[in-house]
Amino acid sequence: MYQYDALDREMVADRAAEFRGQVARRLSGELTEDQFKPLRLMNGLYLQLHAYMLRVAIPYGALNPTQLRKLAGIGRTYDKGYGHFTTRQNLQFHWIKLRDTPDILDHLASVDMHAIQTSGNCIRNVTADPYAGATADEVDDPRVWAEVLRQWSSFHPEFSFLPRKFKFAITASPKDRTAARVHDIGLVMRQGRDGALGFEVIVGGGMGRTPYVGPTIREFLPVDQLLSYVEAILRVYNRHGRRDNKYKARIKILVAALGTEEFTRQVDAEWAKIGEGANLPEAEVARIRAAFAQTAFETLPTRSEAFEAARAATSGLARFARNNLKPHKRAGYTIVEISLKGIGETPGDASSEQMEVVADLGERYGQGDIRVTHEQNLVLPHIKLDDVPAVWAALKGAGIATPNVNLISDIIACPGLDYCALANARAISIAQNIAEKFRDQDRAEKVGELKIKISGCINACGHHHVGHIGILGVDKKGEEFYQLTLGGSGAEDASLGAMLGPALPYEKVAEAVDTLIEVYLRERKGDERFLDTFRRTGVAAFKEAVYADAH
């Protein structure tokens, strides 16, 4: 993992000191809330329905055990004993007092963490493949480039007051676990025929009111050209993105308005003027790369007798292994994904105790490496198969061995009406109701991969547009209603979901999902996923079944 050096540490300490001063000025009344707002928003501090919310940055979703323990401790001392992992691989505390925030930032700084650029119209936390460095199918370690971008974008003097927030995602695997195509900039690493590495550059994807799957503006950008090229994109956006209407201010609107070709032409023209000098020197890339190369793998047999015996003997472990273990690039190792979608729980929430258990497991069995996924789960990327039984038992003891990764109850839901001032409707309890309906694990496994994503309003923080089943909360005369969309995907086969039909009342949503699943099971051919069946058959059969009662 990347380790902060003295320079990185001083940056964070300087920020914490600056914010302490700003909070003091607010508490003394020298600053009004209006004046304070843009300052706190530069530090990830939001005023929500009931309290302040602090969003802590977890760059590319990577944590070490000390950091995770610190988050657990902050949750216990300053919040209600838990934290909420987000779709930007960050962590939010929802019950924070303003006067505590300077101390919290100092605590974070003590473990090289912060809340820098987790809000505001700047370049936000760069997300990356949570299986980076572990998965067999990557062409490079995307964390190297995510760290390059983290440093470049931190306190960027020119690009800290953009028209709107700006999000990067980066993956080096053909299986996209970052939703790169629905980001402001998505970078997908590719290997050229001569072995050279480059990025496919996708710009102007996004969700919200006007969702787009982003177009590719460059098929192959040599890796060493990354910073000059993104500088060109950001400059075109900073100068020409709309600032008169915040709903039209994201880069996707600029790209759509200019057209991909014209936007690309402007970026290329700017890029030509910027020149090579803006790229990062090779020595610094090498320094960063070295930091990620330190994982010490043992040479192990492919098959672990201990693991095989344990899973033959314990059906719970066998089920967990089927759903939550993913192939590792090294023989005898596996990637363990920890679902934070326990049935009846809030998606993405983890208690302080649970965080501590994961931290301990990461330290004892996982080379001190822990990840957060954009689907709001945790990952122990380097676990020996031999150790899986012990890891599983410890997770089970902490109530986080739910064997549902990528299954119907592995749901993304935004905070919705429970926390968010903008919400039309609850999102969390819809997720809970659906999970409850599919409590039967055999049935869930029979249904297979299914991504349900729920947003409490059109801002789409729950990514409903790219859910295989998307659920959007709408307000109908003060009642909570839900609009269903089908066939979306945020992965390499990205697409936006199509509307199913009229919005449904709160009580009907879980039932409707159940009906959709019945139709799928009836229609599917071979090992098609829900998404594949839907794409093949179209919406008619699904629509008819869900709205049958209404006729």
Partner: protein, 166 residues
């Protein structure tokens, strides 16, 4: 009239403003003036031949490229911040310094608050008309909050990736 703070060798000082901001419909008196881009485009030649120093004020939406051929004759470019969150003038400033090598004064005008002082200095501003009443000490402190910088920019500060090599 807002206070003018100038940065000289990294030190922020309150300065006497030799320039007068002249609105488009205002008559021109003698002396050094700052005019809008459109007025400069109409009357620039005669202003410059008057033997006074001339500055141009660019709105955030006006591109610095429009001045490309005149910069060597300008004493000053003022870049406007219509509101705190509008960051277009950061790009204009940086291009003035890095792409056009402009050596005159680059002045921040409009909704200029100390919270952005550090960024402004980094992209090449060296004069400020603070809207928050900041004095030179407060301004100075705001520009010096961070000991290190991660990027190359117009201020020539050594970025971390070069510091690390030494």
């Amino acid at each position: 009239m807002p206070t003018l703070i100038e940065l000289k060798d990294g030190v922020a000082q309150v300065a006497e403003d030799a320039f007068l901001h002249v609105a488009d419909d205002q008559d021109l008196a003698g002396g050094d003036v700052i005019v809008s881009l459109s007025r400069f485009q109409a009357e620039g030649e005669s202003l410059l031949s008057d033997g006074r120093r001339v500055g141009v004020r660019l709105e955030a939406g006006e591109a610095v490229e429009a001045l490309a051929y005149d910069l060597s004759r300008l004493a000053l470019v003022a870049l406007d911040f219509p509101k705190f969150g509008d960051g277009r003038s950061f790009s204009n400033a940086r291009l003035l310094r890095e792409r056009y090598g402009f050596k005159g004064q680059v002045r921040a005008v409009g909704d200029v608050l100390r919270e952005q002082a550090g960024f402004m200095v980094r992209v090449g501003f060296d004069a400020f008309e603070p809207a928050d009443g900041a004095n030179s000490n407060e301004w100075q402190a705001a520009t010096r909050r961070y000991h290190h910088v991660y990027q190359r920019s117009a201020d020539g500060r050594t970025p971390t990736f070069l510091e690390r090599l030494s």
